[in-house]
Each structure stands twice: as C-alpha cells, then as structure tokens.
C-alpha cells in the first residue's frame, strides 16, 4: 500500500515538475505576451512561432503579424495578416493593419488590391488610408461625400492637403533659367536669396577684374578672369534651373513627410488594439 502511494506521489511530482517547466506551451505563451508588451517584438515572434504548430489561434497569428509590422518586416507582416480566416472576428482588423502595412512601404497598388479583395468586411479605416494615398500618389481627389468619412479635425487636414496638391507652389525651371540672365535673379526666384546675391557679386567681381586687366593690357590675367566670369555666369543659369527642380522636389517631399507625420500621430486612422492590459 505504502509503496503504491509512494509511486503515485513520485510520478505526480515528476509530472508536476514537467508541467511547471518554463518551456511548456502555456508558459511560452505567457512569456511571449510579456515580451510583446515590452515591445521586444522579434523575441516575441520567435516565442509565438514555437507555439504556432501546436496551438495556432487567430489572436496568435495576428500578434505575429503585428509584431512584424512593428519591426518593419513588411513582407512577413503581410503574410501573417493574410493567413487570418475570413470568418474570424479579427479579420477586418487584420485587413486594416495590412493596408497600413502597404501604406508604410508606399506600395499603392497592393493597398488598392487589399481593399478590393476584402470588400465584405468593415473597412472604413482602410478606406481613409486609400483616399489619402490616392491624393498623394495619383492626384485623385475624394468627393465631398468621401471626405465626410473623416472626423472633424482630420477633415481639416485632408482639405488642406487637397489644396496643397491641387494648387502646388511650384517654381518653373524655364522661368528660373530666363530670369537668371541677370545673375542671381533665378536663385532669388527659387527663394535662395543669399545664393542669388553671392552669384551676382561673384560674376560682377570677375567681370570687372577681367575688364580692368584687359584695359591695362594684362592679357593673360584678363583671359583667366574672363574664363572665371563666364563660368560663374553659365553656372548661375544652370544652377538656377536645377534649383527650381530641387525646390519642386523638396515641396513634394515636404508634403509627404508632413502627411506621414500627421498620420502617425493619428495611428494612421486605424483603431488601436491593446493586448497589454
């Protein structure tokens, strides 16, 4: 009798110890959630993946996708968001986050596709992202009805963005080139005021030096100075044209960064999920 009890206890203890091991599925999940909430995403992914075969659930897959999104592994994030079943309650969230994924890598066509393929779920958030990115990339502007999708504060921003894209403050390279017949005027036109002034002074100085030396019949020096003067003059014309191109490019870039900064504050219009309470 005693022996039997002893055996039972022993086996129980062994079993107990095994259960208590930190590498059991339940413990791995606990630990992975802890890592996930500590923003230690790569380690969390590795832990979740150990569970993937035994107990794969939608939440788990979503968390892996979310982690990949956070560590900017956009391809993997896309793969995991796509894996979530259509019937799942997390589906619309996953599609929205997948849209965000494409928005962040500026893959506009995939963003569209993603929206079209999943049109049966609740995709207001994705729709907003799609509208913004079509303003940015294709200059297609939303109708008044579509603008009312956005909240009040967001609507202000979107209207502002539309105005900026519809009537851009571009500088024409041709005008810049023609203006810079007067040295520096082209640069002033593209708002590089001090560069314009310097260009005017330098060209003037070297022209004067060339003229002065020719008058005093220092021909060699005269040639050198006139070469420099010509160089500065032509360089000023070419530089002004380029400066206009640069101005336009900076204008576009500025709009894009402003938009992304604003959207980042708003979590890209997507409902926040909180797994760490």
């Amino acid at each position: 009798m005693f022996k039997i009890i002893y055996c039972v206890i022993c086996s129980f203890i062994i079993l107990y110890a095994q259960n208590n091991s930190y590498h059991s599925p339940e413990n791995i999940r606990l630990f992975a959630d802890y890592l996930f909430c500590q923003n230690d995403y790569l380690r969390a992914i590795e832990e979740y993946k150990r569970l993937e075969n035994s107990t794969a659930s939608d939440t788990l897959i979503f968390k892996i996708g979310y982690s990949y999104l956070q560590i900017k592994q956009h391809n993997y994030a896309n793969k995991y968001f796509d894996m979530i079943e259509r019937s799942s309650s997390l589906k619309s969230l996953a599609v929205n986050y997948n849209s965000l994924n494409f928005f962040l890598i500026k893959d506009f066509s995939s963003l569209k596709n993603n929206y079209r393929l999943n049109s049966d779920s609740d995709l207001n958030d994705s729709k907003k992202l799609l509208l913004v990115s079509s303003i940015l990339n294709e200059n297609i502007f939303p109708s008044d009805e579509q603008i009312f999708l956005f909240d009040d504060s967001d609507r202000l921003f979107v209207n502002d963005l539309i105005i900026k894209k519809k009537y851009p403050d571009y500088k024409s390279p041709t005008v810049a080139g023609i203006l810079s017949v007067i040295p520096g005027a082209g640069k002033v036109y593209t708002k590089n005021y001090t560069d314009g002034l310097t260009s005017f002074l330098l060209t003037g100085l070297f022209t004067f030096l060339a003229y002065d030396n020719f008058r005093n019949s220092h021909h060699f020096r005269g040639y050198i100075f006139s070469f420099a003067a010509t160089g500065f003059y032509l360089g000023n014309i070419y530089g002004s044209i380029i400066s206009a191109y640069r101005y336009n490019r900076n204008y576009d870039e500025k709009i894009i960064t402003e938009t992304y900064d604003y959207l980042k504050q708003k979590n890209y219009f997507i409902k926040k999920v909180n797994f760490c309470e």
Binding site: K72, L197, S199, G231, Y238, I242, R249
Partner: protein
Amino acid sequence: MIRNKFLFPLVIFCLVQISAQTDWVRWEGVNNYLIENNNDIKSNELSSSLNNTRISNISDLLVKFYKITISDFDGDNCRFHPSCSEFFVESTRINSLFTSVLLFFDRLTRDTNIFSSGRYKTINNRFYDPPSDYSYYEKESNQ
C-alpha cells in the same frame, strides 16, 4: 543600503528605454569589443572619393594632380562634404564634363555664400551636399 539621489530618475529613464527596445534584428557578439568596427556605413560615406580615384579620364587626372600638389598642403578650407574638388569628381561620374564644370561653378558660389547654413544636413560638422542632389531626375532611392 546606499541610495543615489539620481537613482529614481535613472530608473524611470531605464524603464522608458527598455520599453523602446532596439533588438529588432538578430545580432551577434563582436570579436574585440574594445575596437569600433570600421566597416560601418558612416565611415564609408565619409571616406574621400579622391583617395581612391581610379584615373579613367583627363578630368580625374587633373583632379588627382590637384590633390597631390595643392590640396594636401593648403589646409581644410571647405565647409562642405564632399569638398569642392570631390564634388567635381563625383559629378563627372553621373554628368557630362561640361555639366560638371557648370555645377562646379555653382558649387563655388554656394561655398562663397557664407550665410547659407540652414538648408543642409550636417555630417561631421560639414554640410552634406552631394552632386546627386543636383540633377533633373528624381533620386533613385525615394526613402
């Protein structure tokens, strides 16, 4: 036990730091942790294009000659990175010679202009101003 008066802010700081981890790619230990790895991108970007110029055309030859005979002796005069002569060499790689000369004069204008400082990014206390910024077409990497 001794408690440092900085301990509390330190702990708060650390907690914030830990919640913002950077362990988002796998990494490995370094062989000799005392020595900084020289292969990082920053030093690559800063290495002078003049020092490893292969002479393929006449402008390279001129620039190399300038480098050996004058530039090595006249001190550090350029506020920009790449310096004016390096700018010219790099420009000839992507533009024609004539265009490069024009861009070079344009660059000299910018170098003379002592008031322009806000517009540029700085690397190692120099204004970063590469020739690839001065072309018609879009830059290849749009990131």
